[in-house]
Structures are given as structure tokens and as C-alpha cells.
Amino acid sequence: DTEVTQTPKHLVMGMTNKKSLKCEQHMGHRAMYWYKQKAKKPPELMFVYSYEKLSINESVPSRFSPECPNSSLLNLHLHALQPEDSALYLCASSPTDRRGEKLFFGSGTQLSVL
């Protein structure tokens, strides 16, 4: 199994809603990532977990809250989002977070905030 699975594929939410994005991999990878990608732009790193511990937070607003319950799962909890948060949210994993590692990306969750 060389897949990173993200659910849901599409999500529409209001600014007062609370929702969660889920990401799962069964490759034994110990580094997992959340990226945000706006239309026609490159992905931007949000968070990195290494061995289930948050290692990088790229100054992301607190309305985005990551969680890594175990080595296979990564969640992104969303609360009180703004319309400008609408984007494709990509999860990725790699065996470790050493330089040169290949990242495996999921297909993403297309989020629309109304």
C-alpha cells in the first residue's frame, strides 16, 4: 500500500462550523505533513509531525488545529474559518523528515468556506 488517503474529498462549510480533515497512511512513514494550496499556486507548508510530535508550525492561525493520534493518522481540525481559507488541503507523508526523502501526497480535500 503506497497511498495516502484523505477524506473527505470535498467539503463546504460555513464560518461558524467545526469540521475535521482526515489523512491516513499505512506505509510505516514517521513524518506527516499538511499543505495548503490555493488555485494556480504551489503548495504551502502548514504543519509537520515527526514521530507523532509536532515539529513545525509555519505560523498558521489557531483556527487550524492539527492532531496526530498515532503514526498512521493525521487530522486537521477546522473552526471559525474565513472565506480566504478556501483551498485544496494536501496531506503528505515520508519515511522520515530527513532531507532528500520522497514525499507521498494524498489527493487532497477541496475546502470551500462560505
Partner: protein, 114 residues
């Protein structure tokens, strides 16, 4: 500080003709360089990577790239384009020490015409 410049935002080729997507990098360290491809509404897939081994790197789907230190370039080529190659291509450089700190180029959209 590291950076990567993709010289063309859009490239259009005819099916069966060669593909050239250009990338120049700037890095203080011996870089790790990658090419990722993204099909519409999909995650990113690694095409190939350079990590200071052979300067000519072969990837998937017939793509290859040559690392030229003197020109600080890492151009992506394919001898014969196929319709399925139409996608967004990102050149990526990895900062020394960690896979987390990837710097993405702005992307090149490849269009393949019949």
C-alpha cells in the same frame, strides 16, 4: 537561503514532440532537487529526484532531468510528449537537514496538443 525559479509558467507542445521544462535553483548547500507533477484536482506525484549521486536522473513515465551545477539548473525533459503528460509541474529544492523545508517553484503548466 534557497530558491527555485521556473522560467516558464506555461509550455505548449504537440503530442510526440520533445518536452523541456526549465528550472534554475539557488542554494547555499549541496541541494536536493525534485520534480513533482500534479494533475487537475489531484495531489502531487514525484517524477524524479537528485541527491548528489548521478547528475542525469531518470524518473517515471520517460522523464529525466540533468543537474548542472555550473548553470545552477535542473531542467526536466521527455523525448516524446503524450496527452496524459498534460499537468502542472513543480520544481522543488530541499533545504539542508530536513525534508520538511521544501521550496516549491511557481509551477509550469504543460499543455499537449493533438
Amino acid at each position: 537561503a534557497q530558491s527555485v525559479t521556473q522560467l516558464d509558467s506555461h509550455v505548449s507542445v504537440s503530442e510526440g514532440t520533445p518536452v523541456l521544462l526549465r528550472c534554475n535553483y539557488s542554494s547555499s548547500y549541496s541541494p536536493s532537487l525534485f520534480w513533482y507533477v500534479q494533475h487537475p484536482n489531484k495531489g502531487l506525484q514525484l517524477l524524479l529526484k537528485y541527491t548528489s549521486a548521478a547528475t542525469l536522473v531518470k524518473g517515471i513515465n520517460g522523464f529525466e532531468a540533468e543537474f548542472k551545477k555550473s548553470e545552477t539548473s535542473f531542467h526536466l525533459t521527455k523525448p516524446s510528449a503524450h496527452m496524459s503528460d498534460a499537468a502542472e509541474y513543480f520544481c522543488v529544492v530541499s533545504e539542508a537537514g530536513t525534508a520538511s523545508k521544501l521550496t516549491f517553484g511557481t509551477g509550469t503548466r504543460l499543455q499537449v496538443m493533438l
